[in-house]
Symmetry: C2
Subunit: 357 residues, 2 copies
């Protein structure tokens, strides 16, 4: 199809305290003897949120270690252990940031699709709907709550399971859940959204649908990170909507240079997505001059220090690996630089960029 | 539930020329021997669009007379005639403005739900999913493409079949289809969107989700109707997104005074929704001072004359009927005026307002 037929999330609930509706929301999706499995960011272990999870019958809470971003082996292991323990589950509920939500989407799909999640890294390779899945963000910015992907690091690449079966059946957008996020993480994840917007709005793929979402997300980020002087409820409310709108803007656009380069860093060095994007964005004046200048003002106002020199001392082989991973993200480069991107972004030029980081 | 769990449209495709993907989009939803039924605004009879409808097998095109807005009797008649002719259909595809799309939604629901559509006027009364249904707007502004209602005039009231089964399975947003809309109709339908936004953004129900959609729709309307001097492709592109965003903003908000009063006009006099809203908005300085001033600038810039004096000579009984219909729209009044709306909007005050129109 010339224009993507975009699969939307089925149900969305937005509101402070809407997490308390989860029991009622899940009820119609419970199947006899099969548990709801709550994949929860390990950050919440021992925190009050856990006691609010509406457990019934043989429901299970699994704390997911998202120190590193999800791997295909982790997804496969989780799905297998759930199959061993329960046969099948009623659903998988991801409660956390982008990594946790992506993990939940992937595990849901691997409860019904054979083989390894690595087999489905790519576009439209998933063949079967997963089990019921819901996403509940506790950090705003990645847009993972509405995306049709689930970014995974596999044996040979970092790439998502992009498919119409990937989006959540339900998302619960409760800004209260983001209140106690560490300021550092909140900032980097928020910048992920901001960078999304810049890449999407300046990309060649853009149309009016994505533009209207991208502009709204950008406007919200500018308000939160440039106009507001203290972080308050309004910031949490608006950043949650910025994340949602930023994610929706990807329907007819793509991310660009920052993401493409950042994927190489994550693959080789395990750099977290949000941090990696910022490290790269910091040096992209040539591609997004206005966006980078504004980004730097946001970093300064927030009082953050973007890491520098993280590629110092890497070997040629290591640089080559990052370059391979990055240049493999063809749609991102094409969106950023147009059809002739391969003439523009040579291996040498990309190497020089990686050396700056 | 405290916060509505909002059912989204399942699939959306946006793009100039995306109508040509319809055959491919419908293919997986066709059932052996059961036709796709295309309900098409009678405006298109004999026009080139009809030849582009991807007919297969026993598919049927029905031109819908939408001179008046859909009635429950019309819905019941259409559904019955389809049952008589085919037993069951694969789907109902509405191609037209808000009336045609609402008709398609209602007929889809009445292919599977027993009784009359009048039985389901209200909130969450529909018990069964309808047959597959798709909406293809050829006029932008009503937001009917994403709403969970289908406004019908019944034996005792004008009220929608509001339910989670009401939203379309698919919408095709192709701004090319709106190119040849009559300027007058385009304007009144666009103003429906603008008035939505004002009512929603100033309402008491608003939250950040609806606010971000409402603000975007408003900004697009302001650009189209105040900044642009000639109507061009950009206007069609943006007004289609304004309509979508305006419709989405209703998720956690409501329309207000203009709609509540306009419903009375439509019920008694058959005034078209868009025109009725404008007739009322023209006199709502007390409720939406800024919005009404801006609305008047849009009317002036567009060179339109909003009808006046349409209630002249009505009997007391007729005024009473309009007042009854209007005051029946409780959520609209509550959104506009707060919990104590009944103290504020008395029958006398509403009568005085109707007399001005």
């Amino acid at each position: 199809m010339k224009f993507r037929n975009f699969k939307m999330v089925d149900y969305v609930v937005y509101g402070r305290g809407s997490f308390d509706q989860l029991d009622e929301i899940l009820a119609p999706h419970r199947k006899e003897g099969q548990p709801m499995v709550f994949l929860v960011d390990h950050f919440f272990e021992g925190k009050p949120l856990v006691a609010r999870i509406p457990l019934r019958g043989n429901d299970k809470v699994i704390f997911a270690d998202v120190t590193y971003e999800p791997k295909t082996t982790q997804v496969d292991g989780l799905a297998q252990s759930l199959k061993d323990e329960f046969g099948q589950v009623s659903g998988v509920i991801g409660i956390g940031g982008g990594s946790t939500m992506d993990l939940a989407k992937a595990v849901s799909l691997m409860m019904t699709n054979p083989g390894s999640s690595a087999d489905y890294q790519g576009w439209d390779l998933v063949k079967m709907p997963g089990v019921y899945k819901a996403g509940i963000p506790t950090l705003s910015g990645t847009g993972a709550e509405v995306s049709r992907t689930t970014v995974l690091t596999g044996p040979t690449r970092k790439l998502g399971m992009n498919s119409d079966f990937t989006p959540f059946d339900q998302i619960v957008l409760d800004p209260e859940l983001t209140t106690n996020a560490p300021a550092n993480q909140r900032f980097y994840t928020g910048m992920d959204c901001y960078i999304h917007c810049i890449e999407s709005l300046q990309g060649t793929y853009l149309n009016e649908f994505s533009k209207s979402y991208g502009e709204k997300a950008l406007e919200l980020c500018q308000y939160i990170f440039l106009e507001k002087d203290t972080w308050d409820e309004e910031c949490d409310d608006k950043l949650m909507m910025a994340s949602y709108a930023g994610g929706m803007s990807i329907a007819y656009s793509q991310v660009g240079v920052a993401h493409a380069v950042s994927y190489g860093l994550s693959y080789l060095l395990g750099t977290k997505h949000g941090v990696g994007n910022c490290i790269v964005m910091n040096h992209l004046e040539d591609y997004y001059p206005q966006g980078v200048a504004e980004f730097k003002r946001m970093v300064e106002k927030g009082g953050f220090d973007i890491p520098q020199g993280i590629t110092k001392g890497l070997t040629d082989e290591q640089f080559d690996k990052m370059i391979d991973v990055s240049l493999g993200m063809k749609p991102l480069w094409e969106n950023a630089l147009g059809k002739d991107w391969e003439q523009i972004m040579t291996r040498e030029k990309l190497r020089a960029l990686y050396e700056k980081l």
